[in-house]
Symmetry: C2
Subunit: 173 residues, 2 copies
């Protein structure tokens, strides 16, 4: 009997996503003092949703890819203000730093849980109404939608483990 191994459709690997869910809960509770509800993660679909503000962190090493924390503008201003402890609007020089630091804390916390030797880059921050984060074809992308009392945001986890089989690529039993 021979077994034909077809390329399985991408699935969500809980081991890759759980560290980010935990990081979001922890960072927003301790640093922003906001209760966050994590909604059901889903694979990124087309057309990609649009955002106003995004903090992007690159991963390289045993975990490679990128993680993006994306906000609508009103939520970004309120959450950045809560994080900084003072009112910050999008035209303040501190606004991008606050968004970048939130993304950095989430990625840094998740990195510890992911294990392995990975490096994270300093954040890049994009500001522009209705921009889209294009989905690249060779890395699966999972969107984790998050709700807070002051507005919604999402975390896009666009990473893969290198040299380690993940459930996203295992042959179904």
């Amino acid at each position: 009997m021979t077994t034909t191994i077809a390329t399985p459709p991408p699935t969500i690997n809980p081991k890759l996503i759980a560290p980010f869910v935990n990081a979001v809960r922890s960072v927003f509770r301790s640093m922003v003092n906001v209760q966050t509800t994590i909604n059901r993660p889903h694979l990124k679909c087309e057309p990609c949703p649009a955002h106003d503000v995004s903090g992007i962190i690159g991963f390289s090493g045993e975990t490679s890819g990128s993680v993006v924390v994306s906000f609508q503008m009103a939520a970004a201003e309120k959450l950045a203000s809560a994080f900084a402890g003072t009112a910050i609007t999008s035209d303040s020089p501190d606004f991008a730093d606050a968004i970048g630091e939130l993304a950095n804390m989430i990625a840094g916390s998740a990195k510890k849980d992911l294990g392995g030797l990975a490096n994270i880059s300093v954040p890049s921050v994009i500001i522009g109404r209705n921009h889209q984060l294009a989905r690249l074809s060779d890395v699966p992308c999972v969107v984790v939608p998050c709700s807070t009392p002051v507005g919604d945001f999402c975390v896009e986890v666009n990473i893969k483990m290198n040299n380690v089989p993940t459930s996203a690529h295992e042959v179904p039993q």
Copy 2:
């Protein structure tokens, strides 16, 4: 005699920028078959210029930060088409991959010249008319404006060498 060390204003470190200038020339000549004119690099100023399409690569390790290749939409479509060898518009699924791969080739080529142990992330691609790449306060950012016969683009080099003195941080003699 005591010497007071004041924080010097940021300056452009040619050792960090030359590898990117060379990489842009080489990648666009060999892979896009387009002659590129590199204009005078300058420190990023406020307000930041707006772009339509950006490919972002994160650096980590001995060189950390990010590098962004940003295009106006018409130039992005023409250069992505020349790179792919077939007409690509911004609504094609191949568009983001082409822009990401161009950014990846520039960063990868520059990384070799920079020396040291650095890792680069997979690219993130942002599509959105008039988005801005916010300047973070703790990493100097140099803009390298580039012209081609089919439109202009720029490379934003937002990196620093870790544990290595750079001219941007040396005390003036």
